[in-house]
């Protein structure tokens, strides 16, 4: 099926190589030079094709041979993806380590899926069954808690001629269609082409992340999109790791795109040790990692995002809820800028190519809750980190991203420096899913959820206004009522919004816990206003110890029990001030 053609190199300029003598299609894979470096056609001009090469081109010369593969860049899809760690073009890093040593050298292509591992397949169709693209042929148990459904490739359909149960390697035939098409556990899909679905559905279920500020104030929907822009050190990566760890997705695809090697190592050592709070299985068993760090080739960085999203779509097509984190989409855009400038394309804003916004849009468009070809439903939630130059959100990547995504978690350098984590600015962030998700919270958590959330936002808004006055005149000149408001807003910030990622208990907060914590703060606040009105001195209210206990309760393993104790303590303290409250 693969037709190969030979040509030769005309020009080498870093990762961009111009070749002659072949007539490939756009985005076909081409191998260049004596080292057989893999690349992809990104421009065709007259008799010349321009290739972006996924490996370092040092020493490569004009005149060296080129082989066109006749096929676009494909992602291998099948059992064995979970727990894997790949580079941007789906080469398994542990295998590269074994074959090339501790440093990544050149010229080795390595398949994404292990060819020798056998999987126990149980079929779900039989001779005579009619199947279409996306139909489920059967399943293998990929990890302890994940059943990997074997799909008919999206563009294939027909009638089953034969199908067998048993142990198979990914390439072995498990059956045939009547037209002779061979069926196996894996198939390939071109990474730049979205896998088809029947239609997209309205997202109306929240992705519960276990992060209080996200779930309560700015929730993202399953199948939705969110971005996390922030300057260096504001907590984008910690946030993305938190979401990858704790969000209630069935599958997580984590793309380290042009970031630090050490951060990927951290994921690799932490995830196998951490347990999914819902299934109890190691988090690694639902995760696929893609690591193309900042010093790895930029062209492969550009591809890494497509490798990731294609894998995410594949699991969606099995009917799963998938979360995809990309850290950082800015580095991805920069990779496009680097390639584009080598092509001497007309630059747009800040040197980014004019098609930047189209590429970003196409990526985020691959998210969504969808009605699948096989009749099932699945979703992909995309959460992209953005690293704005100079932490200035007016730059093109942040602005173009904001046009696409529905949730904006704005990280604030000032908050990070004050060590208020997560440093999400509660005044500028937003979620456009609030209305569609409200019924869910109303139904699944509590009917006063909406009211609590609104009160919280109002309180924080009010605090911002009052703080401006305090800056000018000091807090003593504020009316007592307002001084109390500042105090309660502080509880919201310090007890509720602040969440310690590295604390064993606080790292993840269930939605019920979020609700009871928030409700208790508001009830406590209401009791304080009440006491003030009844003539209790403000200084006495400020001296109460039980608010401090509440701050500690969130760190306790048996939170419910601890909360009961705190509330009892609060009642007692109010009583001693002569107020019946809570």
């Amino acid at each position: 099926m693969m037709k190969t053609a030979k040509g030769e190199i005309y020009r080498v300029a870093g990762p961009v190589v111009t070749v002659t003598g072949i007539r490939p299609r756009m985005y076909d894979v081409v191998f260049v030079g004596h080292l057989n470096l893999m690349g992809e056609v990104i421009q065709i001009r007259n008799d010349k094709s321009v290739i972006q090469v996924y490996e370092d081109t040092s020493g490569v010369k004009p005149g060296e041979p080129v082989t066109a593969s006749g096929s676009p860049l494909m992602v291998e899809l099948g059992p064995g993806l979970l727990t894997s760690i790949y580079d941007g073009i789906q080469r398994p890093l542990p295998v590269l380590n074994k074959k090339m040593g501790d440093f990544i050298s050149r010229g080795l292509s390595e398949p994404g899926l292990d060819r020798s591992k056998k999987w126990k397949f149980e079929s779900a169709v039989k001779k005579g069954s009619k199947v279409v693209g996306g139909s489920i042929l059967g399943a293998v148990q990929e990890t302890k808690n994940t059943e990997h459904r074997i799909l008919v490739p999206p563009t294939t359909s027909g009638t089953i001629e034969d199908i067998a149960d048993g142990k198979f390697c990914v390439e072995e035939p498990i059956g045939h269609l009547t037209d002779g098409t061979v069926l196996s556990l894996m198939h390939r899909w071109p990474m730049r082409v979205p896998r088809p679905v029947i239609d997209k559905l309205m997202p109306d279920i929240p992705l519960i992340t276990g992060q209080r500020i996200c779930d309560t104030l700015f929730p993202v929907a399953k199948g939705g999109t969110a971005c996390i822009p922030g300057g260096f050190g504001t907590g984008k990566t910690v946030m993305q790791h938190q979401l990858a760890k704790w969000s209630d997705a069935e599958i997580v695809v984590y793309i380290g795109c042009g970031e630090r090697g050490n951060e990927m190592t951290e994921v690799l050592t932490e995830f196998p040790k951490l347990k999914d709070p819902r299934t109890g299985a190691p988090l690694m068993e639902r995760t696929v990692l893609i690591a193309n760090t900042s010093n790895m080739p930029v062209a492969a960085r550009e591809a890494s995002v497509y490798t990731g999203i294609t894998i995410a779509e594949y699991y969606r097509d099995m009917g799963y809820g998938v979360s995809l984190m990309a850290d950082s989409t800015s580095r991805w855009a920069e990779a496009m800028r680097e390639i584009s400038s080598r092509l001497e394309e007309m630059p747009g804003e800040e040197g980014y190519p004019a098609y930047l916004s189209a590429k970003l849009a196409a990526f985020y468009e691959r998210s969504g809750r969808a009605h699948l070809l096989n009749g099932k439903e699945g979703s992909i939630t995309i959460i992209g980190a953005v690293s704005p130059a100079g932490a200035d959100f007016s730059e093109p990547i942040t602005q173009n991203t904001l046009r696409m995504v529905k949730v904006f978690w704005a990280l604030d350098s000032k908050l990070a420096q004050r060590r208020h984590f997560p440093a999400i600015n509660w005044l500028t962030s937003y979620s456009l899913y609030m209305n569609t998700l409200e019924p869910w919270f109303d139904r699944e958590v509590s009917t006063d959820w909406k009211m609590l959330r609104m009160k919280t936002m109002e309180l924080l808004q009010k605090e911002a206004e009052l703080s401006e006055i305090v800056q000018l005149v000091g807090s003593d000149s504020l009316p007592e009522h307002d001084q109390l408001t500042l105090e309660i807003a502080r509880y919201i910030r310090e007890i509720f919004l602040q969440q310690h990622a590295y604390h064993e208990v606080d790292s993840y907060c269930s939605i019920q816990k979020q609700y009871s914590l928030l409700r208790t703060i508001h009830e406590y606040g209401a009791a304080c206003y009440d006491a003030l009105e009844k003539g209790v001195l403000l200084t006495d209210i400020f001296k109460m110890k039980s608010s401090g206990l509440l701050a500690k309760a969130k760190f306790e393993l048996d939170f419910d029990h601890e909360l009961e104790k705190v509330v009892a303590e609060m009642k007692k303290e109010f009583k001693s001030l002569g107020v019946e409250a809570m």
């Binding site: 020009r11 990544i104 050490n262 050592t269 900042s294 932490a391």
Partner: protein
Amino acid sequence: MTKEYHTITDIAGPLIFVEKTEPIGFGELVNIMLPDGSMKRGQVLDTSSDIVVVQVFEGTAGIDKESGVCFLGETIKLSVSLGMLGRILDGSGEPIDGGPKIVPDERMDINGSAINPWARDSESQFIQTGISTIDGLLTLVRGQKLPLFSGSGLPHNEIALQIARQAKVKGEGEEFAVVFAAMGITNEEAQYFMKDFERTGALKRAVVFLNLADDPAVERLITPRLALTAAEYLAYTHDMHILVILTDMTNYAESLREISAAREEVPGRRGYPGYMYTDLATIYERAGKIKNKKGSITQIPILSIPGDDWTHPVADLTGYITEGQIAISRELHRKGIYPPINPLPSLSRLMGRGIGEKNTRGDHRAVEQGLYAAYAEGRDLRGLVAIVGKDALSERDNRFLMFADVFEDRYIRQGRDEDRSIEQTLELGWELLATLPESALTRIDRRILEKYHPAYRKKHSK
């Protein structure tokens, strides 16, 4: 013999364009023979069957169209051997200390290769620098890249030297070997480093690469890569722990900008090329610790940030790549405090790997958080005092105000040769925390407080 071409068509800035060559490899090293008999070196930036673009390291001054061009058929390599220790080399790796040539044990490509993320070690060890602010609050660990964010006129060089002199890993006798790369610094600054290396005998365990202010700017692009290649050789072939000091990365970035402008590339922010993030990453990411290798590479890049503006591309992009930053503060320096490190805008992202029971002490995190929060609060109050006056502050606030002063005077300030052990640093921390009302230390875990707070320890000993 390699063929010599006399086919230069254009000369522009640091670039020459050569035509009618045989196939030339991308990145190949080039010798340029000048009419006066001298020779310059360069590297191929772009190669095609029609024209080859060469970037000349020593600048194009004196090159004419008749100059000869030889392509050496290989990319830039550095001759490495253990004999490099104690040697002083120029910015392109040639000895300038009057000693013999380096007898190579190996020749290594100076661009190195990316460490496979899978091969990196997630565990590390605490490096004691003897400087309280760093050890206590911004702990450095082996394999980390932690830059000094500084500005002109600030004592970053002294701090870097103090770190280099004092750095050790607890319980291991072995010292660090230092690889020092100077890019575009003045002769006087270079002398300052060299004298100190000689005074302390550190030179014996150091390799020095010097590209000074009056050396060719383009050469600066290879100097840090040479240094890191030497570091990788010593770390991974000879199991040594290497501390790499790169100064000044701002000069490096300027050279990068210069080349980019000469190539008429589309400029990114403030004229720096769009690929500067990637370029800097290929330097900084060479720091690391590998699972099955004994040696390690720790990096301390120094940046003098123009206008103390952290949004400047050099600082910004560095911050996006390194594992934190140490902020050298002009304000503390003006107050006469050495080392003027402000912990508040500083951060060590790998601190967690180097502290705690196993590495330093069980209370390290608690002391760090306590001191950070108290100093932050004290500094905030300074702002408020300016508006409302000291009398308007509560007793509690006044204690915090005082804390900030004492913290700067006793914890941050220390002698240039004062080498504090981590125990001393932690004890000092507790001593200062004890000046605050205990009710203000709510963030510190009860058990830790009772074990380490001086008030309780007195009780225990009674």
